[in-house]
């Protein structure tokens, strides 16, 4: 855990959208997914997911609905809307470009990454 990274501001949204890409999840599921796919590299204060989820909901990028969880408890599930899906695509591309550019500038990556 000591080598975990603090999450960059603004990246929570795109991670949430990505987490919902393959189907609805509740907040806990989103947290689980992020932890799983990053092998715990990213240090996420799980509580911050919730205001983010509600913000995305306000922006109509996700919609939320109360349902029943796999172990029969009431849970709120979030689903990607069409607008959310489009935003995910755009943000993913932007993120890739950004990461490449920063990597290039820092000399981490060679000049191979020409667009």
């Amino acid at each position: 855990m000591t080598d975990s990274l603090n999450l960059l501001k603004g990246t929570v949204d795109v991670l949430i959208l990505r987490a919902l890409e393959n189907g609805p999840r509740h907040g806990y599921g989103v947290a689980e997914w992020i932890e799983g796919v990053t092998d715990g590299t990213l240090l996420l204060e799980e509580g911050t997911l919730y205001p983010a989820l509600h913000r995305l909901q306000r922006k109509r990028l996700v919609e939320g609905e109360w349902g029943v969880s796999d172990n029969n408890r009431r849970a709120k599930f979030y689903r990607l809307t069409d607008a959310g899906r489009r935003r995910l695509e755009r943000d993913t591309a932007d993120w890739a470009r950004y990461a490449r550019a920063v990597g290039q500038a820092l000399g981490v990556e060679g000049r191979s990454g020409t667009p």
Binding site: T48, Y50, H54, R58, K76
Partner: protein
């Protein structure tokens, strides 16, 4: 969009409340604890770890609450727009379902707005706008007032009197005279007559204060006896005749064979308040010494400019005191002569104003009727939908939504009607300008007024909101249970609503009656005018004006044979029956008068001499124009230049000056030099000379040979059954063949001259007829709407009656009777209104009184009959009511 606009559209779900936020957090923590425990942590350890990983719960909750708040706000805004969008599409669906209703409302509004915009634009330009000169309110017109001699208050002026009044009245700073001047332009190919005026030098520079586009206006040096021949031309003349020559100033024009120097070009669009069609202006170069002798004459018209700060009333007082002084200074010429001072604009529009105000009044009535119609239709419709709205309301639809739907519906209709009304207004204004009779002041400058358009547009939208709101509130403010139970019999569909609508329809009928009576009176008056005996026979006569230039026809001995030759040549044309000459054609607006005394009678007091209009005719004039001889003989060939002077007098002169006497053989003294007297040889019928309306003025016909003039009209009568208009080219050619410097000007069949004189009456009659037609249609629509809705509302009652044995015929009769009673009430009120308004139109009427019973009764019967007709369809529907079905429908 869902079909029921009463429901909120499903958005992304309602914003969560605090309980939900908490349970969302709790769920997360519980799952986390379970997961950690599954990995072997104790419950206590797991709970601590879960809390650590989650972070500050309170902070998270506040973040979520903030988002929820924002979402609630967003949702409100969004749902407002969604709701309006739904309202619009709902409204469109309603219109589609009932296109007749929407069409009638839209057409009603478009007609009302269009007619109003067009009429207001015209009235504003013609009557209300200030004239386009600096300080236009200081401009006025001075006339001789000879009412004390039995003459008009707006008689023309003599130069000497005008100069004395102008220079002796401190309140009048400047003043100029003008008179007609229509020279023949004899260069550049053909000879053409150019309409123009002569004006004294200060007219443009100091009275009207207009700047020329090129060159200069007149200066005092241009207007002295024997001064240079100078001419100012209009912008049109400059472009069309002078080819827009930038060097035009300083060139020479040959007018009546005399060279005139062009000193200036007036700006484009300059239309002088007098003779707006003038294309050139020159100066009279009067000699004050000579003019002093002609103080008693009436040859000039004027424009004056009041001194700064002086108003018309103040100047009038000064003019009146000066008139008294002139009377005592010049008793011979000025006894019983006063002066009238009018504002220039009022003076210009005086002749058109009554008619235009009547048109304006009727168009306002039309708009009111149109508005009433729309209100009524919307009310009727709301009541027809009361049940539907009540059900929807009871099923949980938001009342505000129902109201907003109705408002959107009516505002939409109003907007569509308004837009079409704007289109109709533009088209209508153009049509009016094209239709307006020549001489309507300033008509050429009329354009659609954007302010008027904006105002009418706003009025429509306002009307839409208002009309939409009343029924909407009616529906929404009611006790739903009772309306459901009673199916709207108490709402606008019930007795109270019906009473309101009945009153509106009756009011509509009353207003329609007023407009119809006005149109009826004008139509009857116009028919009288058209068939009135003019005293001559316009059909078959072709007339033109010819001017013999002084350079080629220096004196009477040159003029006489020229006119004889023109008559001879024209008479020889195939299809021409007879040709005569008269110096002032009937209805041409031209004439000149002279004082006279009957020889052998006691001379009247100074300034009391009677006057008569003098016309100079050739022997064939009576035949060519169809002038009727009453007694004695007409001018004949034997009345030659060196023979005894002869004259004919008209019936009016005979009645006034020879009552019970035979005038033939008596002699008239016109104060001619040498004491020459004219012997009366006959009496001719009165003719309509100045106006197609009654024209009872003394007139004398003299022999052209004995008193020739160089400008005269010639009348050629076509052979029976021949159209005189077809003779035009041959007549033109015959005149030019005689002398290339001559032109047959103002050539037109006499019927056209008469028609032109009737043009203002025709215009007014046509307009009012149109309005009356539209108003009638609107009233019929209103009646039909109300009757059919009331039948709809009473279907059950009618069904019960049928079930109890009433016959279909009597049910139908009941409905028709209702309509007739409604119309009858409207007619009674309308007759009262029309009688009050009658004096306004009285001055426009000819041969029919403003209270003409035929018109009133005719219009009343028409309206009642139309009301019965409008009720026929609903009556038929009522008579077909199937009692079983109606009663079962409950």
């Amino acid at each position: 969009m869902t079909g029921d606009p009463g429901r909120e559209p499903p958005l992304v779900g309602p914003p969560d409340d605090d309980v939900e936020l908490d349970s969302e957090i709790r769920f997360h923590l519980e799952r986390k604890v379970e997961a950690l425990m599954a990995r072997g942590l104790s419950r206590q350890e797991a709970e601590r770890e879960a809390a650590r990983r989650f972070g500050d719960v309170e902070e998270v909750r506040m973040g979520m609450q903030r988002e929820a708040r924002l979402r609630r706000r967003d949702t409100k805004v969004r749902s407002w727009f969604d709701a309006r969008r739904q309202d619009v599409s709902f409204a469109v669906r309603q219109w589609r379902r009932n296109p007749g209703f929407a069409l009638v409302v839209v057409a009603t509004l478009a007609l009302g707005i269009g007619a109003n915009t067009a009429i207001f634009s015209v009235v504003d330009h013609v009557l209300l706008r200030p004239l386009p000169y600096p300080e236009p309110q200081q401009l006025g017109v001075l006339w001789s007032d000879v009412t004390e001699r039995g003459g008009p208050a707006d008689e023309w002026l003599s130069y000497a009197n005008f100069v004395d009044v102008r220079d002796g009245t401190p309140g009048i700073a400047e003043g100029a005279l003008w008179a007609g001047f229509n020279p023949t332009l004899t260069e550049r190919g053909e000879a053409t007559a150019v309409p123009g005026s002569i004006v004294t030098e200060s007219m443009f520079s100091r009275v009207l204060r207009v700047e020329p586009a090129m060159g200069r206006t007149f200066t005092p040096d241009d207007d002295v006896p024997g001064g240079p021949n100078v001419v100012l031309v209009s912008h049109d003349f400059w472009t069309e005749v002078l080819g827009a020559d930038p060097e035009a100033v300083g060139t020479t024009l040959l007018l009546n064979d005399v060279p005139y120097e062009v000193v200036g070009v007036m700006p484009a669009g300059f239309r002088p308040p007098f003779r707006p069609d003038a294309r050139l202006w020159s100066t009279p170069q009067l000699d004050p010494a000579v003019q002093a002798d002609g103080r008693g004459g009436f040859s000039w018209r004027s424009v004056v400019r009041l001194a700064p700060g002086v108003d018309l009333d103040e100047a009038r007082v000064q003019v009146a005191s000066l008139a008294t002084r002139l009377e005592s200074d010049y008793p011979e010429a000025n006894t019983d002569m006063g002066f009238t001072l009018n504002g220039l604009r009022e003076d210009m529009v005086a002749a058109s104003s009554t008619g235009l105000w009547v048109v304006l009044g009727s168009v306002v009535l039309l708009l009111v009727v149109a508005c009433v119609n729309v209100a009524n239709l919307l009310l009727a419709r709301a009541s027809a939908r009361t049940a539907e709205l009540s059900v929807r309301s009871a099923l949980g639809a938001d009342r505000r939504r129902l109201v907003s739907q109705l408002v959107v519906e009516s505002v939409g209709l109003a907007l569509v009607g308004g837009i079409l009304g704007v289109v109709a207004g533009v088209a209508g204004t153009r049509a009016l300008v094209a239709l307006a009779p020549e001489g309507t002041p300033r008509i050429e400058a009329v354009t659609v007024d954007l302010r008027i358009l904006a105002v009418t547009f706003l009025v429509t939208v306002g009307a839409g909101v208002l009309f939409g709101l009343v029924p909407a509130l009616q529906v929404s403010g009611r006790d739903l249970q009772s309306s459901l139970r009673e199916e709207g019999r108490d709402g606008m569909g019930g007795r109270r609503g019906l009473r309101v609508r009945n009153a509106l329809v009756a009011a509509q009928v009353a207003l329609a009656l007023v407009v119809l009576v006005g149109a009826g009176l004008l139509t009857r008056s116009f028919a009288n005018l058209r068939t009135a005996d003019m005293g001559f026979t316009p059909e078959g006569a072709l007339t033109f004006f010819v001017n013999l230039p002084q350079s080629r026809y220096p004196d009477n001995d040159a003029i006489r044979p020229a006119i004889r030759e023109i008559e001879t040549r024209l008479a020889a044309l195939p299809g021409v029956e007879s040709v005569g000459t008269i110096n002032s054609l009937p209805l041409s607006g031209l004439d000149g008068d002279s004082n006279f005394m009957v020889d052998g009678r006691v001379p009247p007091a100074l300034g009391q001499e009677p006057a008569a209009w003098i016309r100079r005719v050739t022997p064939n004039y009576a035949e060519a124009m169809g002038l009727r001889l009453v007694s004695g003989r007409f001018i004949e060939e034997r009345d030659e230049s060196d023979g005894a002077l002869v004259a004919l007098i008209n019936e009016t002169l005979t009645e006034r000056h020879f009552p019970g006497e035979n005038p033939v053989g008596q002699r008239l003294d016109f104060g001619a030099p040498g004491g020459n007297l004219w012997e009366i040889v006959g009496v001719v019928a009165d003719i309509r000379h100045f106006s197609v309306r009654d024209d009872r003025r003394e007139a004398v016909y003299m022999a052209f040979e004995q008193v020739p003039v160089r400008s005269t009209f010639v009348v050629a009568r076509a052979a029976a059954e021949r159209d005189p208009a077809l003779l035009v080219p041959e007549v033109r050619r015959a005149v030019t063949d005689l002398d290339a410097s001559l032109a047959a000007q103002r050539i037109a069949p006499m019927t056209e001259v008469v028609a032109d004189a009737l043009a203002p009456d025709r215009f007014l009659t046509t307009l009012l007829g149109l309005f009356a037609g539209v108003t009638l249609v609107l009233a019929v629509v209103g009646l039909y709407g109300v009757i059919s809705v009331s039948v709809g509302a009473r279907l059950r009652e009618l069904g019960v009656r049928m079930a109890l044995g009433a016959e279909a015929g009597s049910i139908g009769g009941l409905v028709v009777r209702r309509a007739v009673v409604l119309a009858g009430v409207g007619v009674a009120v309308g007759v009262g209104l029309a009688l009050v308004g009658a004096p306004v139109v009285a001055s426009l009427l000819y041969g029919v009184r403003a209270t003409d019973p035929v018109t009133f009764v005719g219009v009343a019967v028409l309206l009642v009959a139309v009301a019965a007709g409008a009720a026929a369809v609903p009556a038929w529907r009522a008579a077909r009511v199937d009692p079983v079905r109606v009663l079962r429908a409950d």
